[in-house]
């Protein structure tokens, strides 16, 4: 059955690459092809979830490229493919024929394929590969309108931020090897002691970065520069939940490290609360939803930290439906009305009731209003938090209340009785909802309601069995009641409060609206020092190393010059002198050789005379 798995991950990846390579020529077939591939992907995903195949390919010594579908992965692949198919269907209407559709749909398919590999990866190499491809395609999708430098820079910020956190995964892989284990994800919790902490730290850092948890949240704000369907996909079922999925998957590792669980739980709940407040302060609907994603995923991270895999998974699935729906409706309004500013969206829901109702379902679900799915899923994971520590439970409840605040605030604006917003010029009429848009709205709205069933005890036990966990904390009825009442009362209060300015100090509001200044802070703490260091090093390179090399060259030349002028002339002179002396001696030796025989005789007589005298004197 492993062919099902290969087909499941291969189909979107290969077709995505083909569409991207096709360029503008493939624009006409791209939407149909993408929707078809996504639909086929749903079938394959359901098959894989039932068959639970394993597949692998040899890659490195002791670290194969491993893929497998178990219970958690099965739920994930179905969620991913279903959400992706609906979003791609919506995109056929949203991304018009005047855009580079092949590039858009090809990148979306690649993105989905990378996510599918991520959730089925059983070894770190396959996880790392898909993790990277996901990051790269997210960059290409956020910067889809690359003609606009602002969007290009935003894509760069998002990419660099996640990429920095991704280094943690490499650290984890290295530490896992050093700890003497293979690179299988399942064995990470048995790594030898000192290395285990490094593995846990690396995995947590990578997951927090991808999931835009504190302190990495700001990249999600910049990611809003991409097309709406991209935001819908990125926030609901792919990149941003990949981190939460990884933390749920490596739960044993977190508990084995001893500190990982608490750290993730607290970071998750802090993010859920703080980014919820950020969402409350936003005036732009897409920014509000982005901050809400951070907050909702904070709950999943909290679930991973408190070891309630069931709660985290339910939250993930329910959130995927609600958040993709919210983004799709926002995209719909952005296309029809040309604005995503909350104050300008007054009455938007009344203009097109289908979209309005869909958005209301999504927003109420995000608010945690019963009987919608996120209300119930959140209680399952909060039960885990309560078992862990009451403080966590209290913080989680507070974050849930905040989520009700921002959702209802957005709802209040779009349902204001106001003259319907003027349609954007050259856009279709705001009332008309085409089939490609209506079907995803309907299906996702239904899902937001129906998914509540997953929480009811028999079904929940089935989910727990599927995930292979047991003995997790079960929520009691009073917890459901408490959270439901809390959400309802906060929602009612916000609705009644309306637009009146709050009592909160202006600077605090501005600070929250600026995403807590995280980006500026990261620039100040990380980017500026790194750049300064790079400049210093470049200066050192220019001033010291380069100049040193140049100086060495100049010194060598000068030395050569001196040697040439002093030493060389001396040596030369010696040689010349020797030659001249030889010449002179030769001339001297030629002088007695006159060719006159009688002179030779005279010389011989003289020489013998001298010899005789010497002999006489010496003897």
């Amino acid at each position: 059955m492993s062919w099902v798995l290969w087909a499941l991950v291969g189909l979107p990846l290969v077709s995505g690459v083909l569409l991207c390579l096709g360029g503008r020529r493939a624009d006409r077939v791209a939407p149909a092809a993408a929707v078809f591939v996504a639909a086929a992907g749903i079938v394959l995903a359901v098959t894989a979830a039932y068959a639970q195949p394993r597949a692998g390919a040899p890659l490195f010594q002791g670290a194969a490229f491993g893929l497998a579908v178990d219970g958690l992965s099965g739920l994930m692949v179905v969620t991913v493919t279903a959400v992706a198919a609906l979003i791609l269907l919506f995109s056929t209407a949203d991304v018009g024929p005047d855009q580079a559709r092949a590039r858009f749909f090809g990148m979306m398919l690649l993105f989905v394929g990378a996510m599918l590999v991520t959730v089925t990866a059983t070894t770190l190499p396959s996880l790392l590969m898909s993790w990277e491809v996901m990051g790269a395609t997210s960059w290409a999708l956020i910067g889809y309108w690359w003609h606009d430098p602002v969007r290009g820079r935003a894509a760069g910020v998002a990419f660099i931020t996640t990429r920095t956190a991704d280094l943690g995964l490499y650290l984890a892989a290295g530490a896992s090897l050093a700890g003497g284990r293979s690179l299988a994800l399942a064995g990470l919790d048995q790594v030898a002691r000192p290395w285990l902490h490094l593995v846990a730290a690396g995995v947590i850092a990578a997951a927090l970065g991808k999931s835009a948890q504190l302190p990495f949240s700001f990249w999600l704000s910049r990611a809003m520069q991409g097309p709406s369907p991209v935001s819908a996909l990125l926030h609901s079922a792919t990149m941003v939940v990949a981190g939460a999925y990884l933390l749920i998957r490596t739960g044993p590792l977190l508990s084995a490290s001893g500190w990982g669980s608490d750290v993730t739980a607290w970071i998750g709940v802090t993010t859920a609360f703080a980014l919820g407040l950020v969402a409350v302060a936003q005036t732009d609907l897409k920014q509000l939803l982005a901050a809400s994603s951070c907050a909702q995923i904070g709950f999943m991270v909290l679930a991973a930290g408190t070891g309630s895999a069931v709660g985290g998974t339910l939250q993930l699935i329910a959130h995927a439906a609600a958040k993709s729906l919210a983004f799709l409706v926002t995209g719909f309004w952005l296309t029809r009305l040309g604005t995503k500013d909350l104050s300008k969206l007054r009455g938007a829901a009344r203009a097109a009731p289908v979209a309005g109702v869909a958005f209301s379902v999504a927003a109420l679900s995000l608010a945690g209003v019963p009987p919608l799915s996120l209300w119930a899923a959140k209680d399952v994971l909060l039960a885990g938090a309560l078992a862990h520590s009451p403080a966590l439970y209290a913080a989680g409840l507070a974050a849930a209340a905040v989520s009700a605040m921002y959702s209802v605030r957005a709802l209040w604006y779009v349902w204001r009785p106001a003259p319907p917003p003027r349609p954007a010029p050259d856009g279709p009429a705001p009332r008309r909802v085409s089939a490609a848009e209506g079907v995803p709205f309907a299906v996702l709205s239904a899902a937001a309601v129906v998914l509540t069933v997953l929480v009811l005890p028999p079904v929940r036990e089935a989910v727990a069995r599927t995930l292979g966990v047991n003995g997790e904390a079960q929520p009691l009825p009073w917890e459901f009641a408490v959270s439901g009442l809390l959400a309802l009362s906060v929602a009612a209060a916000v609705w009644a409060w309306g637009e009146r300015p709050g009592r909160v100090a202006r600077p605090a509001v501005r600070w929250a609206a600026r995403w807590l200044g995280l980006e500026a802070a990261s620039r100040f703490v990380l980017v500026r020092p790194v750049q300064r260091l790079a400049e210093e090093l470049a200066g050192f390179d220019d001033r010291v190393l380069d100049r040193g090399v140049d100086g060495l060259a100049r010194g060598t030349l000068r030395l050569a010059d001196v040697v040439n002028r002093r030493v060389e002339t001396a040596v030369d002179g010696l040689v010349e002198g020797t030659a001249a002396a030889s010449l002179a001696l030769g001339r001297l030796a030629r002088r007695p050789q006159t060719g006159q025989l009688h002179q030779y005789l005279a010389q011989a007589v003289a020489a013998f005379t001298v010899l005789a005298v010497v002999l006489v004197l010496v003897r």
Binding site: T594, G595, Q596, L597, H598, Y600, L601
Partner: protein, 101 residues
């Protein structure tokens, strides 16, 4: 009269000729030394033929050849010396150094 006597006379002739060839500065005197050396050689050759192999005629031929060569050589030598003297008033080897090969 025997071979040793002739060889002694030939050696004396050769020695005197060699002394002259080595010591004289005048070209004429130098050539006279050469004449004496060649005379000694011819005398020795003739004596050796006469006393050792009188039956073989090649000795006679050799002696006659040597005498002829000597005569020719001297004629050429004196011609050169005469020409030189007429041209440059020179009769010493020292001034005729530029003629060396």
């Amino acid at each position: 009269m025997n071979l040793e006597l002739f060889l002694l006379a030939a050696a004396a002739l050769f020695g005197v000729g060699l002394f002259g060839a080595l010591t004289q500065q005048s070209v004429v005197m130098l050539m006279m030394g050469l004449e004496l050396m060649l005379g000694g050689v011819i005398l020795a050759a003739a004596a050796v033929w006469h006393y050792i192999a009188p039956a073989a005629t090649d000795g006679q031929v050799l002696v006659v050849l040597a005498v002829t060569v000597m005569a020719v050589e001297m004629a050429i030598g004196f011609a050169v010396v005469t020409a030189l003297f007429r041209a440059r008033e020179v009769d010493m080897t020292d001034e005729a150094g530029d003629l060396r090969a």
